[in-house]
């Protein structure tokens, strides 16, 4: 126990440090059936109680309020984390998913008792098919990477059904790490495709790599540099020419809503990160949802169940004919699907197109404000995000992009994605999203310009930043060298 005069520290005070053995929060209900001898019922009852916290509700309320006060979310401030689409999450989404008619429904209830939930899922399938230009949608995958797995396994099954064993999947050097990791999980060899000097796929290199052993290409368009690959139709045509399929990583779908669709670009499959484009929150790392949309040719292979609507307007669940099988239990991350559906209904057809327009306008505006002080390796009109390089600061002042990111924290701004994509030296990947005002963009630009000046005046200031955060730079090497991955009770407890 701590001494009575000691306040819990803002950080580092564990819930296990609070309360005392007789502290209670929620009591189980009084037993209204005969008690039972656990020793007789359970083959192996516990010999000692698990060392869980013993705290009051007041302890819990204050502990998590303290933790929350050290956390930065979209509601805390500007969060231009490239490739993550940290747009504002409307509060009605949270209200909707908590309605008892959605939250208290069991996945194995008879379809007749969950027509509202099935109608919502069906409506979302239809909307996502329209947005993606691909007719068949499964809502099953729990996240983007999970969608990649489902999509690529469907592609694998498609080839296998044709007696066409293929071994390689092409992935650009600018791709998200999940793409090559998924390729490996699906039993394929990942082959890297270089980017050209304009930041797109190097078409010549692609043509040399393509052959009848290639199962698919995984592409993001706009890509992770925030650039739209204007050769996209040539790329997908070349891929199809050798019998391979084109998979689109939909992480950057926000930029093209209502303007162009992956299906129209020649893609055969797409996953959609609902927690990005459709504003379900990121939850500190999840849950998200990664529905997959595909062509008619791939539709029979999707993981089920999917929602179908019959002629009488009744909704039911069904598995595609040649499904790869389940990728999870139950029916998808329904709570996340409710939020995405709510967002789409609130935003509507005109709103979704405005989302793309405003996201692209904001990114290009911000790029212009920053381009003089920060090298722009690919100097083109960008889409929803752009990548700056900190190479000049590093060369001239010994200040790294990491230092810039940490200094931004002192100004109350969440840093952009750093050191990604890998093809840009000292990369800063900035995605403002459509929900931020011009005033916020102007302030961010002025802060980043000020930080460039600070780097010149006093590099040490940046190298030791941040100063104002709840903790400062943490010793990541020590965390691996002496791993402490779980609290344990002291032997005298």
């Amino acid at each position: 126990m701590k001494s009575p005069s000691e306040q819990p520290a803002l950080t580092g005070t564990l819930i296990f440090d609070l309360g005392s053995d007789d502290s209670r929060c929620v009591e189980p209900p009084a037993l209204d059936v005969p008690a039972i001898a656990l020793d007789e019922v359970l083959g192996a009852p516990r010999r000692s109680a698990p060392a869980l916290p013993h705290v009051t509700e007041v302890d819990i309320a204050r502990h998590y309020e303290r933790l929350a006060s050290t956390n930065f979310g979209v509601d805390s401030g500007f969060y231009p984390l490239g490739s993550c689409t940290m747009k504002y999450n409307p509060k009605i989404n949270e209200w909707a998913c908590r309605l008892p008619g959605f939250a208290d429904v069991h996945p194995y209830q008879p379809a007749s008792t969950v027509q509202g939930a099935l109608e919502l899922m069906w409506g979302l399938q239809e909307a996502l098919a329209e947005v993606s230009g691909l007719p068949a949608v499964t809502l099953q995958p729990a996240a983007g990477a999970h969608g990649e797995l489902a999509g690529l396994l469907a592609i694998r099954a498609y080839h296998t059904d044709r007696g066409d064993a293929r071994t390689r999947v092409l992935v650009p050097d600018s791709a998200h790490g999940t793409n090559p990791a998924t390729v490996a999980m699906c039993g394929y060899e990942a082959v890297q495709v270089p980017s050209d000097e304009r930041g797109g796929v190097d078409l010549g290199a692609l043509r040399r790599l393509l052959g009848t052993d290639v199962a698919a290409i995984m592409l993001t368009n706009p890509n992770t540099l925030g650039l739209f690959d204007e050769n996209i139709l040539a790329i997908t045509a070349a891929v199809h020419e050798v019998g391979a399929l084109a998979y689109c990583d939909g992480a950057n779908l926000n930029a093209i809503l209502g303007k162009t669709r992956p299906g129209d670009m020649g893609f055969d499959a797409l996953h959609i990160n609902l927690h990005k484009t459709f504003s379900t929150p990121h939850g500190g790392g999840g849950p998200g949802a990664g529905p997959v949309a595909v062509t008619d040719a791939l539709a029979p292979y999707l993981p089920g169940p999917l929602v179908a609507k019959d002629a009488d307007g009744r909704f039911s669940l069904a598995d595609p004919a040649r499904s790869i099988g389940r990728v999870r239990s139950f029916l998808g991350n329904f709570g996340v699907l409710v939020r995405a559906y709510t967002y789409i209904r609130a935003t509507g057809v005109d709103g979704l197109t405005e989302v793309a327009e405003q996201a692209v306008l904001s990114a290009n505006y911000l790029k212009e404000l920053l381009r003089e002080a920060w090298p722009l390796p690919y100097d083109r009109t960008c889409m929803h995000e752009f990548v700056l390089s900190g190479s000049r600061l590093r060369k001239e002042h010994g200040v790294r992009t990491l230092d810039v990111a940490k200094r931004l924290l002192d100004y109350g701004i969440h840093p952009p994605t750093v050191y990604f994509p890998l093809i840009v030296d000292e990369a800063l990947m900035i995605e403002p999203t459509e929900t931020e005002s011009k005033a916020t963009l102007d302030r961010f630009a002025s802060v980043l310009l000020r930080i460039a000046e600070e780097a010149a005046e006093n590099p040490g200031l940046l190298q030791a930043a941040p100063y104002t955060t709840p903790v400062r730079r943490l010793d990541e090497a020590a965390a691996i060298k002496q791993p402490d991955l779980a609290w344990r009770p002291s032997p005298d407890r």
């Binding site: 916290p53 008879p110 008792t113 029916l331 979704l352």
Partner: protein, 431 residues
């Protein structure tokens, strides 16, 4: 803004999109709704899920437990739910510490040394455990008991379908794993034996015996658990499990039509470098203050790409937070109390249903708070009739496997009152 960019119109910014790929018409979607209209629409959809008000005995991996109000109060804090993955630890201590505390509680419940920061659900945690066992043992065959939830087995089969694993399914016997058959199926090629306790039928397995059979051939043992029962059952880690996974939904997460759930994943310290997913570790900052970071990241896709232990990126951090808060609110005493209440009520109902003469016992194995009986009659008609009386009368196991036709499983949580149990039994008696 356009002036600064030097563009005439927003359309100019999209001129890079080739003509042939442009969408020349508006999306065929409804117009946006005002919040008032939208709320009305959502309320009407939610109202059409009539089952939400029924007295439910449905389980099968998703359970109707009570969630203390303090859980949602914490989950509703925007600093938690609007944050991204804690890649900037200086401004993410809240998420990181909450996950570290969650990991600690999972270790306490499972008897394991290390927990990851969460997976999507129990089924994917189960499949990833098989893949991890193959990496650890450098073997590629796994033996799975048919008593495991069919959707977990199917997920495993899907993950294995790309060729990384060969899956052997061993039939169940008497509602539990056929221990002798399992032992017979294990060889020096076996990476892991995978079982669940409770099983899909609600029964409890003889884990120590199964562990001996697996370990004798150098295979790992993967055990799927129920986190509520872990409040009173001896932890799998003490019984020989090498990896413990669970569907964590019963801890603080609403049923929500089956998702998002929570994949709990725990293993031994020796195997941490083969573990999938994120993990949080404790360290200090430059001033010596205690702090938390994502660690052992060289296993993960954003560093290792095609050599990563898994492609998982987004996980179920917010569901893990819910589980952590729920466990704090209960404490060991409360968790055990909930488990005892569920078990007592389930056993009460089981005996009463058998007493009606309409159901009969088929398995001798012990069970927790879910049990399986055979119905003497047509299951569908029985369930339909009882639905009309306000009851979701268990899970028709014949819908999962024709060989189980006639079997019905019932889950009984602490939310079911004596009055509800008794009136359900009365209805059954009148069938």
């Amino acid at each position: 803004m356009l002036e600064r960019i030097g563009a005439r119109s927003v359309d100019d910014l999209f001129s890079v999109v080739p003509e042939g790929a442009r969408l020349a018409r508006p999306l065929a979607l409804p117009a946006g709704q005002s919040e008032v209209e939208l709320a009305e629409h959502l309320l009407s959809l939610a109202a059409r899920n009539t089952g939400a008000g029924a007295v439910s005995f449905l389980g099968g991996g998703c359970y109707d437990h009570y969630i203390p109000a303090v859980v949602d109060a914490v989950l509703s804090k925007p600093a938690f739910f609007t944050a991204y993955t804690p890649y900037q630890p200086e401004v993410s201590q809240g998420t990181l510490q909450a996950i570290y505390e969650y990991q600690s509680m999972v270790c306490q419940l499972t008897g394991m040394e290390v927990s990851n920061a969460s997976m999507y659900d129990g089924a994917t945690a189960f499949a990833e455990a098989a893949l991890m066992a193959a990496r650890v043992t450098r073997r590629r065959e796994v033996v799975v008991s048919a008593a495991v939830h069919p959707e977990w087995r199917e997920t495993l089969a899907t993950y294995a379908s790309a060729g990384a694993l060969d899956v052997r399914v061993v039939p169940a016997c008497g509602g539990v794993s056929d221990v002798a058959a399992l032992r017979g199926a294990v060889s020096r090629q076996t990476a892991a034996v995978l079982v669940a306790s409770p099983t899909f039928y609600g029964t409890l397995e003889d884990i120590p015996t199964i562990a001996r059979g697996a370990h004798a051939q150098g295979a790992l043992l993967v055990v799927g658990a129920n986190p509520v029962l872990l409040g009173v059952m001896q932890p799998p880690g003490e019984l020989g499990a090498d990896i413990v996974v669970a569907e964590g939904q019963p801890l603080g997460n609403p049923m929500s039509f089956g998702g998002p759930g929570l994949g709990m994943f725990a293993c031994r310290q020796d195997h941490v470098r083969q573990m999938p997913g994120r993990v949080v570790g404790k360290t200090t900052d430059v001033d010596g203050k205690v702090g938390f970071v994502l660690t052992f990241s060289t296993r993960e896709q954003h560093i290792r790409r095609e050599k990563a232990t898994s492609n998982i990126c987004s996980n179920h951090a917010l569901n893990a937070l819910a589980a952590g808060v729920h466990l704090c609110a209960l404490g060991a005493h409360g968790l055990a109390g909930i488990a005892e209440a569920c078990i007592a009520k389930a056993h009460h109902l089981e005996a009463a249903l058998v007493g009606t003469g309409r159901f009969e016992r088929v398995f001798d194995a012990p069970f927790g708070y879910e049990f399986t009986l055979r119905f003497r009659g047509e299951v569908r008609a029985m369930q339909e009739h009882l639905l009309g009386r306000g009851f979701l009368a268990g899970l028709d196991l014949g819908a999962f496997d024709a060989a189980d036709a006639g079997l019905v499983s019932f889950a009984v949580t602490e939310k079911r009152t004596r009055v509800q149990l008794d009136s359900f039994v009365q209805e059954v008696a009148q069938l």
